[in-house]
Symmetry: C2
Subunit: 513 residues, 2 copies
């Protein structure tokens, strides 16, 4: 229990009253006697305490405070806080794709099916989806792994993508890809002490992985991506991380993020093949986070799904290597983060384990149905000749080509600045530049008990209103410093942002040199 | 590893090929050599294996198969499977409340703001909510505990309900109440062996609790509700369960479901006061599942929120007892299960723990925004004088009075049957009748390795198409048997259903006597 002096006066009074009440009741040392709170930082679940999630960490809390200050008229050296910390396209002004929203709103309010301005193909989709919902309503629970029809449409989408058979029963819809990733990790974690499950994750990594691993009390085994080779995944490094992990735990899972988050690299087909062989040889379960599969910008870069490569490799790989691949409506050209909709396809999963997965997801009843509807419109988009086709394609292309342009722009502007080193943004939605920080900045950070890149990012936020996430929140090689910044703001705004950030960096370096 | 004979032939071939490949590579005993699957029933997370969730268990799987059989023309002794296993109002034909869907669909597709047939107050709400979303879009992530405006509206709703101050910062929106319940339990679970957290849950209980407790490796401490006194919660039984729990774990949490699920009782104000005193004295954190707060039917029964009673009791209780209260849009008169939207209000929670909760929920980014929008329309309904008011009230009243009628009907019909004993359905959406089963039925069930009530429910399903959940899935006193059936089907259908079920029971008893 905490010392009384650290409690609010009201609570102290209450405790005194309680003690008096207990004494009066003749209980004296009864259990209610010296009653403090049940749940305190000291008594709470230590696994939850260990969880960290930088993308929404202290820097974002500060950004929200600054926004509130601005609203209340507190003078600041900027007029707007720009949250480039998170891959949230529509928050940055990206317009929703019309067809997706038409289909979904029709399903929510079917009276609109008579609305003349909504095209017939959107109405047909809505009717088909409503017919697949219990009671023809999105207000009903769906089956726990998702509406059967949507699972079928997802399987067909995967089949078109990979040229490999996909089964609806292998597709589990989820409350965003994050939810699916955590469900698969939950299945995989077991053991205690040296038999505890080890999970290989790239570093830098998207911190959902480290957070979920901490919460599940599994062991994170970091393999470092090679910044000098555009954040490539190098087999020897994977081997090193595995060998080291085997000394103290039981490595069973290999997570890959492709295209990379926060690092933006797109893996080559050869590299994927190497990783699959490695997983086969070392008996690892593969988790492939492929939520940025539509977001590939660089000349010569192509997205290869792990499943496609796995099946092209043939037996024994295609029949033995266990794979879970994740996708989402939050990224791509859709950017529909708020709907919380994604899915996992499991490949070569033991049938009984698949039943256990089905049972596990049933406890939460079902993924949000509006998100499932929207996902269906994504995986079964309008076809040539249908009334919505032209607009759909135009909107999609506009988003993707703007992103490609912004990826290029980001890298160019950053690399003009001495001390900033930015790999090409081949894919995804982020740049993750390395920044040289002078020794006096490191000392100043240490004096404040902050990681040097957190120190830099906080100063950046306070002086410019630009909110980016320190590299330390994703992991990085010791002695290097980075930040993650989305490429999502509208082009003109992004340009201003990049220039502002660059000159702030230059000033910062001068100040601490 | 499993014996080869139990594997699919394809996999056996693949394994042989793999072994040959490994041998050819000169590896022989290399790690890929005798490669079986990484993830098997034997190697998976044992905590997940222990999870059970009867509401979507084997009986529902069988019901889905039967539905498929019917669609494919397989002859059955019935023409329709009626899923009375789950509280899913709209699946049973309940119509969505117009205002809720109008506001939500407007937010999804703001082009409809010019639609002349949608009332102005719904449009005003939509504009106000869109202005509160980042980028004015429901496709953006919200803050992790929910859209700030919605949290404020929820707090005002709670304040109106209880006459007690409620703070938006104490309200955490979630992906349904289930999600919020699991988050709070996660905070509370800690320790190992005899210091492991014990969680007091009512029996019969809604199996989310047992499932979450199993997954988190906490200890379930069952207190039995008193069937003879209409499933009342009796303090001596609570004391017994606590004392017994203290012998082998560290009881810290007391879960209450009021109105009861699956038992339908509504707690008296006195009983709530007693429970609060008990929690104070015994230093327990209170979790009050109040998702059926709108579903109270019986004469003389009233819903009292734990928070209201807590504050009426005054200090030390109102300042010391930690409470988390849960609510949802899935039940009540809304029945919007598919949206997965609910919330928790935390009372007297340690401020630092509250920050930890905020961090924990941030890892999943945010609850689905369409569900948050719909929740807002629920907690801030149309007011007298507004264009939507009359229709809203009429629709709400229609649902609630039909439910009250069906609650009465259910109890009446069941209690006419010798051997069926049905307590009054005072609230919630279920009847939970006790059924006497003859010794020969028990023997027949045992011969099939089934719980006797599972045996009964399976036979019922196979012969009548009626799907209800065996009492063993919720827990019950040994030697007693029950089932849970929703009261949600439309009145005429429900009447037929109750009569069918009753005559099946009579026939079943005759058959096994």
């Amino acid at each position: 229990m905490r010392a009384l002096s650290s409690l609010r006066p009201r609570r102290v009074r209450a405790m005194a009253a309680a003690a008096a009440a207990a004494a009066a009741a003749g209980g004296g040392a009864g259990p209610g006697g010296g009653r403090g709170p049940v749940l305190t930082p000291g008594t709470m679940n230590p696994a939850v305490r260990r969880v960290e999630y930088a993308v929404r960490g202290p820097i974002v809390t500060r950004a929200l405070q600054l926004e509130q200050d601005l609203r209340q008229g507190v003078p600041k050296p900027f007029t707007e806080v720009i949250k480039a910390n998170i891959g949230d396209a529509q928050a940055m002004g990206q317009k929703p794709i019309t067809f997706l929203r038409q289909v979904t709103s029709l399903c929510l309010y079917p009276e609109l099916l008579t609305h003349p301005s909504i095209p017939e193909d959107a109405k047909d989709r809505a009717r088909r989806l409503l017919a697949a919902c219990a009671g023809q309503s999105v207000g009903s629970y769906s089956a726990s792994p998702g509406v059967e029809l949507v699972r079928r449409d997802v399987a067909q989408f995967l089949q078109r993508r990979d040229g490999v058979r996909a089964e609806p029963q292998d597709v589990f819809l989820a409350t965003g890809a994050s939810d699916a990733i955590v469900s698969i990790l939950k299945l995989l974690v077991s053991g205690a002490g040296p038999s505890r499950t080890g999970v290989l994750v790239p570093v830098p990594q998207y911190p959902l992985y480290s957070a979920a691993i901490a919460e599940l009390s599994a062991i994170q085994l970091s393999y470092f991506l090679d910044e000098e080779r555009c954040w490539a995944l190098a087999l020897p490094e994977l081997r090193r991380a595995l060998a080291e992990g085997r000394r103290h735990c039981c490595p069973r899972v290999l997570c890959i993020i492709n295209p990379g988050n926060p690092t933006g690299q797109v893996q080559s087909r050869q590299c994927i093949e190497d990783v699959i062989k490695f997983a086969f040889e070392e008996k690892l379960f593969l988790m492939a986070d492929e939520v940025y599969q539509d977001n590939v910008y660089a000349e010569g870069s192509t997205f290869h799904s792990f499943k496609k490569v796995l099946f092209e490799m043939g037996p024994p790989y295609s029949e033995m290597v266990e794979l879970a691949s994740f996708h989402s409506v939050s990224k791509g050209f859709m950017g529909e983060c708020g709907f919380r909709s994604g899915f996992v396809e499991v490949v070569n999963m033991d049938p009984e384990v698949k039943q256990q997965l089905a049972k596990l997801v049933s406890v939460r009843l079902c993924p949000p149905v509006p998100g499932q509807i929207l996902l269906d419109a994504v995986v079964a988009p309008p076809q040539p000749g249908e009334p919505s086709y032209e607009l759909f394609m135009a909107e999609k292309q506009e988003v993707l080509s703007a992103l490609a342009h912004k990826a290029q722009l980001t890298q160019e502007i950053f690399n003009r600045v001495p001390g900033i080193h930015c790999n090409p943004v081949q894919g995804a939605m982020y740049s993750f530049p390395r920044i040289d920080l002078p020794p006096r900045a490191l000392a100043a950070a240490e004096a404040q008990g902050q990681a040097p890149d957190m120190f830099f990012c906080m100063k950046l936020l306070e002086e410019t209103g630009i909110c980016v996430v320190p590299g330390s929140g994703f992991g990085q090689r010791e002695g290097t410093f980075h930040f993650r910044m989305t490429i999502l703001p509208p082009t003109e705004k992004l340009q201003v942002l990049l220039e502002k950030l660059s000159s702030f960096y230059t000033k910062f370096v001068k100040e601490y040199s």
